[in-house]
């Protein structure tokens, strides 16, 4: 029994080391090669939709609102709000505090081609702590707002 256990312990150590090096290697390769191309566009999505609600075009320096969010009449604004001067987009997230849906504020930067979630309400504030992103998708889970990058701008010339 004692011997059997120590054999298993050796296997365990081997397994953990092997897995760690393998997955560590994959992680480093992924980090190095996945975000080679510069992002041309960042799409902001809400909920399960695959239609971006707002598109940030880093090539032509503009922000395009594709459609409005469906919000009940108790909210006196029309979301998303795009503030070109501040470089922010304000959406209404799914996370509620005493029955009121909270806003998610996304800041974009044309020059650096980056996006950052600067304000959001959620238990752990994970997506605003993720910081500035230039290719990494930002996912705000309780709010169901996400930002994804694309390398080819969609047909914005029309």
């Amino acid at each position: 029994m004692k011997k059997n256990l120590s054999v298993k312990n050796k296997r365990d150590i081997l397994l953990v080391t092997l897995l760690f090096t393998l997955l560590g290697g994959i992680f480093i390769l992924f980090r190095l090669f996945a975000f080679q191309g510069e992002a041309a566009v960042a799409n902001v999505y809400y909920g399960n939709s695959n239609e971006p609600i707002v598109s940030i075009d880093f090539v032509n320096y503009r922000v395009i609102k594709n459609y409005d969010q469906n919000v009940s009449n108790s909210y006196d604004q029309i979301y998303p709000i795009i503030d070109e001067a501040e470089g922010t987009i304000t959406l209404l997230g799914d996370y509620e505090l005493s029955g009121v849906r909270q806003i998610v504020v996304i800041q974009y930067h044309y020059g650096n081609k980056t996006v950052q979630i600067i304000q959001e309400q959620s238990p752990n504030n994970i997506c605003s702590r993720e910081g500035v992103s230039s290719g990494w998708p930002l996912i705000c889970l309780p709010n169901r707002v996400r930002v994804e990058f694309g390398t080819t701008p969609e047909d914005f010339t029309v």
């Binding site: 298993k8 312990n9 296997r11 953990v16 760690f20 992924f30």
Partner: protein, 169 residues
């Protein structure tokens, strides 16, 4: 008598698992959605070794549902992700324990890896985007030290448990 003791012990284990789960979800260590230490998994692992897969699976499911109920997230998006992760992890740990090739730490690490995979699969459906896959490499990498740590703690506990168990029977 043994049946009654088993029931009481399982109820205690469930309570411990719920508390561990709630505590660990309040400590966000790394800013990655869904990344946790997985201390609640210690209980799953211990029950797997003390009793069997059946009990371990039942307690894990109850833990996920009850924690969601207590934190008001039942049937929310994060609920499905943790449910899928927990089911994947428990199935994987049950399988690798049956295989009888690895010890505590190995089984726990593999369970942890499968937890990450299950979570990401649920995430793809729940969020409706494959963007979640970008988190898979970091989640897998982080799951290994977390799983190993969980395994070490469970192994320590199991040794103490065996000594204690032999004393009372």
């Amino acid at each position: 008598m043994t049946q009654m003791r088993k029931m009481t012990l399982l109820a205690n284990f469930l309570a411990i698992a719920i508390v561990l789960n709630i505590i660990e979800s309040a400590i966000p260590i790394i800013p990655v959605p869904g990344a946790k230490l997985g201390f609640a998994n210690i209980v799953t692992l211990i029950i797997l070794y003390v009793y069997s897969f059946k009990e371990s699976f039942a307690i894990t499911l109850l833990r996920v549902v009850l924690v969601a109920l207590l934190s008001g997230k039942l049937l929310g998006i994060t609920f499905y992700m943790s449910l899928s992760g927990a089911v994947f992890a428990t199935l994987a740990m049950g399988f690798f324990k049956k295989l009888d090739f690895f010890g505590f730490v190995g089984v726990s690490t593999l369970g942890s890896v499968f937890h990450a995979i299950g979570q990401i699969i649920a995430g793809i459906f729940v969020i409706g985007s494959t963007a979640v896959l970008f988190y898979l490499p970091i989640m897998l990498l982080l799951s290994i030290p977390a799983g190993a740590l969980t395994g070490i703690i469970a192994q320590r506990f199991y040794k103490i448990w065996q000594a204690w168990h032999n004393d009372i029977t």
